[in-house]
């Protein structure tokens, strides 16, 4: 069962939600793209469905809503500390299937990784209501099907947005009630069944030591410029640095904050979690790739990478992460030995 709403009607829903939610969606910010006169598409608060960019992938993932790029944890002075407030409002996110699946990875890392849950993550995460944006067709480069993250049932509401209005179906009582006065129709969201970009993900039991030392990584020393774009746009990269900022005029007071970090950028050689990197870009690439498709799976039973392909979309050096995965698979097929 589903509902059909005109944009005007759906905007009433957004308005209703906005009373006690911040409503986020992929939004176009004109002329703020990397190159002049190009637009930036990223997650921002919206007021109307027309603002949602549904026919293009956002450059940055929605992770920045619940793991803010800069997050003040608490303020301190001689006498003690005070936790930083967060907005009272809850959070609604319009989000695609792969990114919903990425959210589960974030949950795992921040809530199920070790003995304690990450408090600062949890207090934002608990606020989140998920509105799934249907992906009818795969975008260029997407390989969600290969990563098994093209589908999900983990949404409160699913929407198909078009110029003619919004089709939606709800998984929760709240949304069903909110929608009950609108026109009922048959609607079930479709999921992408096939991507043009097909990736052979290696079976983790096939991974051997040789692959870590294989010469296939060497080329990245010359190719990767360690610009960090692939990790900042990635929906599942979660590394951050924690630092204390002491205020200039009173060094005894200040704040503790955390800020995104990236294994691909100079200066971030020690990541949260204590991974240490050698400085060369090949090692960084190897670390990232093996983390995304091996280490994480070994620990948590699914791959970290969801195949959103934002890394492939943005790399200025045309390094295609998905072909790197394929290369790993090919090398393993050949027995993992150096092709020398």
């Amino acid at each position: 069962m589903g509902f059909k709403l005109s944009n005007i009607e759906f905007n009433d829903i957004i308005k209703e939600l906005s009373k006690n939610h911040k409503v986020y969606a992929p939004k176009r910010v004109e002329s703020r793209g990397r190159f002049s006169d190009t637009d930036l598409i990223l997650y921002k608060e919206i007021e109307a469905v027309e603002e949602i960019v549904y026919d293009k992938k956002s450059t940055y993932s929605p992770k920045e809503i619940i793991t803010p790029i800069t997050q003040t944890m608490f303020y301190f002075n001689e006498d003690g500390y005070k936790e930083a407030n967060i907005d009272d409002k809850k959070i609604v996110i319009f989000i695609r299937p792969c990114d919903i699946n990425a959210l589960r990875r974030l949950d795992t890392i921040f809530l199920k990784n070790g003995d304690t849950e990450d408090y600062y993550y949890k207090r934002l995460r608990e606020k989140v209501t998920i509105i799934m944006i249907e992906c009818k067709e795969s975008f260029e480069n997407c390989f969600c099907v290969s990563m098994k993250s093209n589908k999900t049932e983990k949404y409160d509401l699913a929407v198909r947005i078009s110029d003619e209005g919004v089709l939606c179906t709800s998984n929760t009582k709240e949304f069903t009630e909110l929608l009950s006065k609108y026109k009922e129709v048959d609607f079930k969201p479709k999921f992408v069944k096939k991507n043009i970009n097909v990736v052979n993900v290696p079976n983790i039991t096939d991974i051997n030591k040789e692959i870590f030392n294989h010469e296939m990584w060497d080329e990245f020393n010359a190719r990767c410029i360690a610009c960090g774009r692939c990790t900042t746009t990635c929906s599942t990269c979660t590394c951050f640095n924690t630092t204390d900022l002491h205020y200039d005029d009173n060094p005894n007071s200040g704040e503790r904050r955390r800020t995104w970090a990236s294994c691909h950028i100079d200066g971030f050689t020690t990541m949260a979690g204590g991974h240490n990197f050698r400085k060369d870009n090949a090692s960084r690439m190897r670390f990232k790739a093996m983390h995304k498709i091996y280490d994480y799976q070994k620990r948590f039973g699914e791959n970290m990478c969801v195949g959103c392909s934002r890394c492939d979309d943005i790399c200025p050096q045309y390094i295609k992460f998905s072909s790197t995965i394929n290369k790993i698979s090919n090398v393993l097929k050949e027995g993992g030995k150096d092709g020398k």
């Binding site: 910010v29 004109e30 002329s31 703020r32 793209g33 990397r34 190159f35 002049s36 006169d37 930036l40 990223l42 450059t59 940055y60 803010p68 790029i69 800069t70 610009c227 960090g228 774009r229 990790t231 900042t232 640095n241 630092t243 900022l245 904050r257 800020t259 995104w260 970090a261 990236s262 950028i265 100079d266 200066g267 971030f268």
Partner: protein
């Protein structure tokens, strides 16, 4: 049989008096160097039909079609009409060919049609300026370049228009990776300094090259969509005093620059030495003085907020004729 030609009219019609007696060369203006295959084929057709098949690509991004017999000029103009219309050149009677040659083709780097570094669409700006100033007999050289790299060599023009990125910083998006500050130091002016995991920008040093925007992995740096330009003036080559153009205004708008250029035509009209066969704008400014020039052209123009104007300019360059500097007593 010897020809009877009014060479003044000929040159105004964008033909050159060449060293080859009875032969001329047509100068085709291509604003911003932006030309399509169809127009190119007309250039080649004229060269084949009337010339010796050779074309010279000029430094101003035009074509000089060589070895056209002087008695074919009228016929060639019929073909030139297609170029004039196709390349959107102002002309009262396109069938008579180019209406003037004094104000040169406005040149431009490729700009953000292709170049990742460019701050704007140079071709569009070139075309707008060309539309406003041409035809005119006064000798003006104008070039438009997408960024301070100045690939079009705007610094050797009477007016060089250089795109400036009015960069803006979103504190909370910055991850303190220092990619921007390292890049600015390496390729630009070291306007950025890391502090406490964030970045401080010295606006007096920033030249708006936009490299920080290109380098930033989180889009903490973006460009303000309101375009800004730097205007450098009175650069030149030539026999007397070659010199690079000097900064006159920074962080201003296309509209204001256009007004300034138009005002300069009035300035030239008032001050040009008509006893000379021609006098270039730079030499007129030298003769009249920068102060008078500045007062004249800025009169009645309301500057945008944030624009910075030079108090004085030391043009420098060098003089080939030492007697202009060292006088014997």
């Amino acid at each position: 049989m010897s020809l009877d030609i009014n060479t003044k009219k000929l040159t105004k019609n964008a033909y050159r008096v060449t060293k080859n007696r009875n032969y001329t060369a047509l100068r085709v203006r291509v604003p911003g160097g932006a030309i399509n295959a169809e127009m190119l084929s007309i250039v080649s057709e004229i060269a084949e039909k009337f010339g010796d098949g050779s074309v010279h690509i000029t430094t101003r991004q035009g074509f000089q079609i060589n070895m056209i017999p002087l008695d074919k000029v009228d016929e060639v103009n019929k073909y030139a009409k297609k170029l004039i219309i196709g390349l959107e050149i102002n002309a009262v009677h396109p069938e008579n060919g180019y209406p003037a040659a004094g104000t040169r083709n406005v040149s431009g780097c490729v700009g953000n049609r292709e170049c990742p570094i460019a701050q704007f669409n140079t071709t569009d700006v070139v075309k707008r300026i060309e539309k406003i100033i041409f035809p005119n007999d006064f000798h003006f050289k104008i070039a438009v370049t997408g960024c301070p790299n100045d690939c079009i060599k705007a610094h050797s023009q009477d007016f060089g228009i250089i795109g400036q990125a009015d960069v803006e910083y979103e504190y909370s998006r910055c991850i303190g990776c220092n990619a921007c500050s390292k890049r600015c130091k390496k390729v630009s002016t070291e306007a950025l300094t890391p502090k406490n995991g964030k970045i401080i920008r010295d606006s007096r040093r920033c030249i708006g090259c936009g490299e920080c925007v290109l380098a930033c992995p989180t889009s903490a740096w973006t460009r303000n969509p309101n375009k800004k330009y730097k205007l450098v003036i009175m650069g030149r080559t030539g026999k007397i005093n070659p010199r690079v153009a000097m900064p006159f205004i920074e962080w201003t708008t296309e509209k204001i620059i256009t007004k300034i250029i138009l005002k300069t035509y009035e300035f030239v009209d008032k001050y040009i030495d008509r006893t000379l066969p021609k006098e270039h704008i730079g030499y007129i400014v030298d003769r009249v003085g920068f102060k008078e020039f500045k007062n004249f052209i800025l009169e009645g123009i309301e500057m945008n907020d944030g624009a910075k104007i030079s108090e004085s300019i030391n043009f420098g360059g060098y003089f080939n004729d030492k007697d202009r500097i060292f006088k014997t007593y």
